[in-house]
């Protein structure tokens, strides 16, 4: 009974704390999963918090969902990677302004046996066409994330009709990068992934990188403050402080210094 009572009171206490904390300074970052799963955010955010005194709370979802959540006003700032959707977000008035933050690249991974023989191809479009021709298994995110948008853009440059192939050799998982990589690993299928998620993924099994280095695989990350005129609850000052820090010298060098296992996962390229 004592245990139950203690738990009950500690719960009440924590509820009170939660309510009290609502007034204190924190920002909500709607972010893509790659920046969290790779460990980037847990490496750089403490530096931002120490610099600004603002706590950062990260909600890591796909870019599509992050944009929708932000459109509902459920976040102060976005850190995502889908240029066209980001520009639309700003031009539709949901965001204040978009800034470049950093980049890395996408890679096509697949089973080491490589049934479609795409290893080392320089042209991703041709590689994808070859996968389709051989009807080798390809796993798509299918979740409107930044990586999914990039994948659709790449397919649109081929003559392949992925819509009618869906369910046969082309399989849409509708889930995050990690879940999709897990499925590709167990199905021995090809898939498109950002390099940061790939390098920090721990269940690669028989998967290897097959196509990389094509300019079409460039992956740019951007940061956008949510427009406070659309949602008065948005912490515009906090969001701006985060953006200023992230694209300023301190944030950029924090990104540069994030090198797990001596591998550069993100390359800072803010414009100022």
């Amino acid at each position: 009974m004592i245990v139950a009572k203690t738990l009950y009171f500690s719960t009440l206490f924590s509820l009170v704390l939660t309510l009290a904390a609502a007034g204190s300074e924190y920002i909500i970052i709607q972010s893509t999963t790659s920046t969290q799963n790779s460990g980037l955010l847990s490496a750089i955010l403490p530096k931002f918090e120490a610099h600004s005194g603002i706590k950062a709370r990260v909600v890591a979802v796909g870019t599509g969902q992050a944009l929708r959540n932000a459109q509902n006003g459920d976040g102060d700032v976005l850190l995502v990677h889908a240029r066209a959707a980001e520009d639309a977000f700003v031009s539709d008035g949901w965001g204040v302004q978009r800034f470049d933050v950093m980049y890395n690249d996408f890679v096509v991974v697949g089973p080491a046996e490589d049934p479609a023989k795409i290893f080392d191809m320089q042209n991703t479009t041709k590689a994808l066409s070859q996968i389709a021709q051989k009807e080798a298994l390809f796993v798509s995110r299918g979740d409107d994330s930044g990586t999914h948008k990039a994948e659709k853009r790449l397919w649109s440059e081929t003559l392949v009709d992925t819509v009618s192939a869906s369910g046969t050799w082309y399989r849409e998982t509708g889930s995050g990068m990690g879940a999709t990589l897990n499925m590709a690993a167990s199905m021995e299928a090809y898939t498109l992934t950002d390099r940061a998620s790939w390098l920090s993924f721990a269940n690669k099994r028989n998967l290897v990188v097959l196509v990389q280095g094509d300019i079409r695989l460039f992956n740019q990350y951007g940061v956008i403050a949510v427009n406070p005129h659309k949602h008065p609850n948005v912490d515009a000052e906090g969001a701006q402080a985060f953006i200023d820090w992230l694209i300023g010298p301190e944030g950029q060098s924090a990104i540069l210094n994030f090198r797990p296992n001596d591998t550069q996962l993100f390359f800072p390229n803010a414009q100022r």
């Binding site: 500690s10 847990s42 990260v58 459920d74 990068m177 990589l181």
Partner: protein
Amino acid sequence: MQNFAESFWFSLTLIVTGDSELWSIVILSLQVSLTAVLLAALIGVPTGALLAFGKFRGCQAITIFVNSLMGLPPVVVGLCVYLILSSSGPLGVLGLLYTPTAMIIAQTILIAPIIAALSRETIQAVHEEYRDQFTSLCLSNWQRLQALLWEARFPLLTALLAGFGRAIAEVGAVMIVGGNINHLTRVMTTSIALETSKGNLSLALALGTILVLIAILVNAAVAVIGMRRHEAMHV
């Protein structure tokens, strides 16, 4: 099979080394789910009792409805609570989204129907058993209810445990309304989902083992309390 053995040892190591991060996640899971059980019991048990006694119109229909709600998909509950608590939703001004309170609300909605349905079942069964006795004693409805709740207290506890089991094991709703924010709304199940998505399968499985161990502990604690009470009655 090697995976399972490895993960089991890994989970024991995690427990023994007492990683403070792990404990804060475990404690948050318990706080959220136990509060949800408490709230759901306050809603569910009276509803169940009302339906068990019910001679009012539409009682049958409501019973069928409540029973169906036992199968509510957590993701749908999460989505509804998200839409309500979202800044652009009707209760957005409260600023509850992405807080433990939001997770408690979602879990309460999820398990209140389970507790209500199981309570109705239990109370009705006991009522059948004692009906003649009650009639011969000329008890009022209120006295009957009191007697029934007392007689049915152990099966009712089982109903609460069923609710607790669903609450603490649930991932879809708390992921959406809590946001899986580190040190704030990250619980056991969302940690397991996160580690799985990172491909850290043995860590994910180890966390799962700990979750099962917690469930066993809670059930054992309730069983022990029940037994002690039972003995005390017969002394």
